[in-house]
Symmetry: C2
Subunit: 174 residues, 2 copies
Amino acid sequence: MAELTGVQKQYILHWGEMGTRWGINRTVAQIHALLYLSPRALPAEEIAETLSVARSNVSTSIRELETWGIVRAVHVLGDRREHYESMKDVWEMFRLVVEQRKRREIDPTREMLRKSLEELDPKEAGADFTRERIAAMAGFFDAVTELHDQMKQLPTGTVRKLLRMGTKMRKKAG
Amino acid sequence: MAELTGVQKQYILHWGEMGTRWGINRTVAQIHALLYLSPRALPAEEIAETLSVARSNVSTSIRELETWGIVRAVHVLGDRREHYESMKDVWEMFRLVVEQRKRREIDPTREMLRKSLEELDPKEAGADFTRERIAAMAGFFDAVTELHDQMKQLPTGTVRKLLRMGTKMRKKAG
DNA sequence: CCGACCATTCAGTATAGACAGAAATTATAG
DNA sequence: CTATAATTTCTGTCTATACTGAATGGTCGG
């Protein structure tokens, strides 16, 4: 993995860009891409060299990936360094990331909306309108949460099967 | 809407932060929040004043929101200025944004993965491994696309109903 | 066709976040 | 316990992007 092939480079760079578009640090995303493509766990130093970034940057980024639970440190006999490897299961990786982001972003937003509805002074001008709008948004986030909770319990593939059922139902109904 | 209430301020600021975490410009998100809460369409000038940003900034941001189709210009009798209003339907707004982002980000990623699989030189060291990994990722994105296409066709609420069915099925099965 | 009013574009500036390198901390072998 | 290797933390620098203000372009009433 010291030298990257063209395809590997392309993948890593693209993944980095995707990361930035979704609010994920470019280096974090690139490191994940590298580890995902690597057939063996890599020490921080090798990651830094391969991607031409500072070791410290690798350290911080790895830490974030560990927080998400999609990268972990493994030990190699006769080597004191930590070697890092990425989870292999793509569905599980995304599930973990989605779950964390829900916790970090969706949940606080729901909380904010709930508080807003509480704090709303009915005597304020246009309070009814504001309440209606915020309630609608809160309803949406509640639904998303419900959806998420239900999906979490289903084995991979079931969701798609169910949706296909729905599509058929819809076609029959016209 | 010239003066914002506490609740409105809170909502707009939070929405702006959420935006940045998802790769959406803070001002764009804030303007959307303002318009979403506004009972009437607002002219650019008023938006700029209310949020304390430059008019030009408002112009660019509104343009982006229009691209997404969640904000549109309306005309008010006796006023030459454009007034902007946000879509009201929360589900529809998110559906539009998801669809656009899929087109801009998911689709090109699938394309990249497909090309990678084509370009992979089988003689390269570890080509089999790389192929397997990229194929797994491509499979995931294909599934997501399929999911998205199916969901698009379903009326609001159906998805949740189906998922509840799935949960029940799963519980019965143990 | 002119003047006023809006909206947009553009070039320069400011700022937030990413990143590097040094310093500090922790761990391990001898 | 010490020396060395590895990792993490921290501070300053840099870069990408957001944003401003000025200039430009367009539209409408008169």
